[in-house]
Symmetry: C2
Subunit: 408 residues, 2 copies
């Protein structure tokens, strides 16, 4: 090899950071391949046994046999039938009234966030997020040169006064905040859900200071209590909220079917930039998603079968944490897939997670990379959607035993 590649790298590639989440997933995949038995309390996957895979298998068979479009490029914004079906779905389950042409089908919620980032974010722009927030969004925005400032949450979600403080402090520095990125329901990684009144306050702030809000609805269909919260989008009267959503947690993270809800020039810019970036979301997945929705599988399976099962897993995690680690703090999610556990202050969460995986075969994700300000070093994000109740119980037991062993 005689080429010095360093001189060919773009300067913007300096903003690309290592992703601990991707590393952990890869390491776990290698361990699994080498035959090691693992308990996954880690990635944001649904439970493959709480996805109606037999029905999806039949759907896929029909679709590939009978629908030639399922193997070809689709229009850049997705097949019209799916956008129509999603329009109905969003009205029914998210209280959002959006015409099909304002929906763009993306490569998961991940693709949606990156596409919007490319249209909205210039290097140096300030984006406010929750602190902590979803690591892949933080990395996506930072790769575009954004400066991220996180606002703290309490048990009702993002604290509005703290958001205003950040905006005002930025203004004093002569800088403007462009956007607030929030996961109001079942926040990743904290597991907190924003109350209805906090949602209204956040919209007021966006209005007062003329900001946009990017609402990430990834966990909107994993709600375990009668909490009566509306999407920011449904409360939005001014067009300030750009929504990002996905069927990943319901249909399966592997299909890569998400969406953007946008208007006006933002919609147009995304439509124009998209085809050279991904050409289209996978056609096979779009047609499977279409039949999933049309055949009422969301009601018949997700709501009736999967959701109660996820609730039981959530309960099992909380119970296991209360029994095994009663002296530690952890969040009690009413929605989503995660609880955030705080280990003792002096424990390095990143190292703990690494050793827990290699020595005990329990895979968790350290919370530190999700924090926007180098705090949370002792935190661990626990996923309860993927593992079984038994794996949750064993995993937390092994985690607590390992913790005890460390402190000896």
């Amino acid at each position: 090899m005689t080429v010095d590649y360093m001189r060919f790298l773009s300067s913007r590639s300096n903003w690309i950071e290592k992703s601990l989440l991707a590393d952990i997933m890869k390491k776990a995949s290698d361990l699994r391949k080498s035959g090691k038995k693992l308990i996954f309390l880690s990635a944001g996957d649904p439970d493959p046994n709480l996805i109606p895979r037999e029905e999806l298998a039949r759907i896929a068979m029909e679709v590939l046999s009978n629908e030639p479009r399922s193997v070809l490029y689709t229009p850049v914004n997705g097949i019209p039938e799916l956008r129509e079906e999603l329009s109905k779905f969003l009205r029914r389950y998210d209280g959002i009234d959006v015409p099909p042409d304002n929906i763009i089908i993306t490569v998961g919620g991940t693709g949606a966030i990156d596409l919007l980032g490319r249209v909205l974010i210039d290097p140096g722009d300030i984006i406010i997020t929750e602190n902590p927030s979803y690591i892949n969004t933080l990395l996506a925005f930072r790769q575009l040169g954004a400066r991220i400032i996180g606002a703290p949450m309490d048990d009702k979600g993002l604290i509005p006064e703290k958001v205003e403080e950040i905006i005002n402090r930025a203004e004093e520095e002569g800088k403007k905040v462009k956007l607030i990125y929030t996961i109001p329901t079942g926040q990743n990684p904290m597991g907190v859900t924003m109350s209805e009144s906090r949602r209204r306050e956040l919209l007021d702030i966006a209005c007062d200071y003329n900001l946009l809000i990017m609402e990430d609805m990834a966990y909107n269909y994993l709600i375990y209590e009668d909490i009566n919260v509306r999407t920011l989008k449904s409360l939005d009267r001014e067009g300030r909220v750009i929504s990002v959503g996905t069927l990943s947690k319901v249909l399966g993270t592997g299909f890569r079917v998400g969406w953007i809800i946008a208007e006006d020039v933002i919609l147009q810019k995304v439509l124009m930039e998209k085809q050279p970036i991904d050409f289209c979301a996978p056609a096979i997945s779009q047609f499977i998603a279409l039949e999933y929705l049309r055949n009422g599988l969301f009601e018949r399976y997700h709501i009736k079968v999967a959701l109660p099962a996820y609730r039981r897993k959530r309960d099992a995690l909380i119970r296991a944490l209360e029994e095994n680690l009663p002296d530690l703090r952890f969040t009690r999610p009413v929605a989503g897939m995660f609880s955030m556990l705080s280990l003792p202050e002096d424990v390095d969460g990143v190292k703990f997670a690494e050793r827990l995986m290699t020595s005990q075969g329990v895979v968790v994700v350290p919370g530190a990379p999700f924090y926007t300000d180098n705090t949370g070093l002792n935190t661990i994000r626990l996923n309860f959607s993927r593992p079984s109740v038994e794996e949750i119980e064993n995993g937390i037991k092994m985690l607590s035993e390992y913790l005890r062993k460390l402190s000896l």
Copy 2:
């Protein structure tokens, strides 16, 4: 709506251009939906009837029923089994020796090109391409702020002297050329294939001037003659060639399975940036592609059944052009999916294509947007892979009749 979205747009979003290809696909989709019968001589799709859909349907059914990983996130670089299978495939069919860990599974070749662009291209960087070249790559690079300079082709492909002229002229202006993007086999849109000696000359130029070459292998598996050309990658002794490939034209454009072959820090940067951009290529597609390759469907079906059928379609197109438009110039492809037709000099290809679609229901793509320098205004790119032999014959007949009508 009270929000003025214009103030939220990033300045880089100014580099986003309208894509005529996307528009045509959308318009055709709308027309199809409204019931209009269309002949597609347009998009770069394979023929859905030359894809073993019944076998893929069975594979999909098995995969979804029996492989839980098929509905979940995969590692960012793709499932290891597919990368291993592709490593064998690339050795056998492209003469490329690459370890599985140097392969990244991407969202089609499109995703591969954009991911590499983000790592390699800074605003203002000069990229040399063929003139004309694939529109989505031109748009992808321009969206990243690249300045594209196209070098002409003859019937042997890219003309090396012209490439050197561009490099030297840039150097006189105090600018450096970073990268040459080329589709050596079955070039899109010209239909030309680069000769073996030209490939060697191009590598010599890359070596002499210290450039990288991005080799797009999209059409490597659609070769109709015994042409004996090797991939640039297989001739590369210095690591100058970064390869982008895809199963799209063989398995189906709708699956979104492509790859990057890279080394060293370029491989690392792509691996690091990728998960926040797309999380992973669709799992269902990766597992289908894996079984497609493992079950020998590339040999049993693509080589034995599809390839001869595509050759017949290529022959039918050339014959139809010779019979109906003997006075016009058109390329005679030995590989790929396209022939480029030059209409009379005074005909606006963009307007012609638009009216041909709306009035005659024949969908073609004007060549002009593929040109890097505002030439080729009278050109039309004709796809022969998607339509049947009968549709090709009728489509070209209708095109020539419409052309005759216009000149009256």
